[in-house]
Amino acid sequence: MGQRQYWMLAAAGLLIPFASWWLLASSEVIPKVFMPGPQDVWMRALSWLYEDGLAADALISITRVFVGWGLSLLIALPLGLMIGTYRPVQALLEPLTDFIRYMPAVAFIPLVMLWIGIDEPSKIAIIFIGTFFQMVLMMAEDVRRVPAAQIESAQTLGASRSEIVNLVLLPSAKPALLDTMRVTMGWAWTYLVVAELVAANSGLGYSILKAQRFLQTDKIFAGIIIIGLITDQLFRLVHRRAFPWMYRKS
């Protein structure tokens, strides 16, 4: 498949759903209240931005996501690295983590609210619970996938254990680790919305919930799209910047 065909198909994959949405909305088979068109959503996004404090909503949500997710990353990365490289640590920690990861994070909300109330820390805690256990195990797996030949080559070239971690494992697993970060960031946004739907008076999730009460479907659409755009674009940018060697295929 040529480069040209690829881009045409990629464009079609985006444009066809968009056009269908636009046609469906403008045909008014479904009342506008339930199915706003792209132009309604765009106008709403603009008025939200200029008159309704979109920037403030986005900022508080982004902050919550980054603090909760960042906290999880801070602990998950070294822990995942250890589980992935040292068998004893794996034996000690993996079974428990594996068990906890399948507990529904959302079900922890009542407990979290009882323990730490409904302020900022509770939202961060929910995001943390939702992302941390998955992140640890995924990162351990990322590290484990580094080809043995790379590690053994480094050993025979004289690398010590810590040099192997810093100079081989981390750089080799970096693209996979970043992918894990992107995927878990997506989940962090999901848990943020859940947390804001349950107990908040600010943020994108809260605005979406409030929009529902006022039947502002277009605002719900705008909110969802904005959340999707923030996460996806941010990580694409980071990925391309961080790993030029992956995109330099001849």
């Binding site: 080809p147 030949a149 070239l157 040099e163 080799s172 060697w245 330099r248």
Partner: protein, 280 residues
């Protein structure tokens, strides 16, 4: 009186698993490899040739016996024994030059390389780039290179710290025939220049004879040395030697040994018998 062998294996044994499910990968194996010699290991799959190489490299541990290399007991991997793997051993985030200089990067990170060493290292890296025909690819990344070029980088990287012993684990196993032939002449050239001791594992008998001064044939179940063949070809090998009667006779002998030890011959006889019965 011969000199102390570069690599000495005494009663080396490797058993995988325990109790009922234990399999003997290597059984009481003795082998001496002289300095500056090129020894090839061939054998049917499961004969333990790669395991043996990995034990010499310190990447696997024997369950019995002793391994000495460069006069010291082998207890783990070390810079005195470089290893070249079949594939996936290059660091894809580093350029060709950076890959080759990896062993020197380690020194630099530790801060124990003097400016003369740095100079010598960059001279060595340039020399290896030229020797391996990689000069034009110096700034490329591994995934931009063909399989043959990637193996050239892997060999150059292994040679960088001037290892007295070079262990090669089917390094050309993933390459096409034409590329392999070029690589054979290249590695022989390197051997003549560097005078390192090379132990080369392969399943290709022709490759084993063409490269080796001695061909060690291994047998499976349990892994052991079946026979050792001195290669009676002139030291300077050329591709047309592969057509000489000596070469062909030796190839026939070794293939015969491998067939016999792998039980392929008996399988074949059994098949013949069965088909004869069926036709009656």
């Amino acid at each position: 009186m011969s000199a102390e062998p570069k690599i000495r294996l005494r009663g080396v044994e490797k058993i995988f698993g325990e109790g009922e499910s234990a399999t003997v990968a290597l059984q009481k194996l003795d082998l001496d490899i002289q300095a500056s010699s090129f020894v090839t290991l061939v054998g049917a799959s499961g004969c333990g040739k790669s395991t043996l190489l990995r034990i010499i490299g310190g990447l696997d541990y024997q369950t019995g016996g002793e391994v000495f290399a460069n006069g010291k007991q082998v207890t783990g991997p070390g810079v005195d024994r470089a290893v070249v793997f079949q594939q996936y051993s290059l660091f894809p985030w580093l350029s060709v030059t950076q890959n080759i200089r990896f062993s020197h990067l380690l020194k630099a990170v530790r801060g124990d390389s003097t400016s003369t060493e740095v100079e010598a290292a960059s001279g060595r890296a340039d020399a290896l780039l030229n020797l391996m025909g990689l000069a034009s690819a110096a700034n490329s990344y591994p995934n931009q290179l063909s399989g043959g070029m990637q193996q050239r980088v892997a060999i150059a990287r292994a040679l960088m710290p001037r290892p007295p012993v070079l262990l090669m684990d089917e390094p050309f196993g993933a390459l096409d025939t034409q590329t392999r032939e070029v690589m054979h002449d290249l590695i022989l050239h390197v051997f003549n220049l560097e005078k390192s001791t090379i132990v080369f594992v392969t399943h290709d008998v022709e490759e084993a004879i063409y490269l080796g001064q001695r061909v060690v044939v291994m047998a499976p179940r349990p892994g052991r040395i079946d026979s050792i063949h001195e290669v009676a070809l002139p030291e300077k090998r050329t591709q047309d030697m592969k057509l000489s009667p000596e070469f062909i006779a030796m190839k026939r002998d070794i293939v015969e040994r491998i067939r016999e030890t792998s039980g392929m011959k008996t399988d074949f006889e059994l098949l013949e018998k069965l088909s004869r019965q069926a036709s009656l």
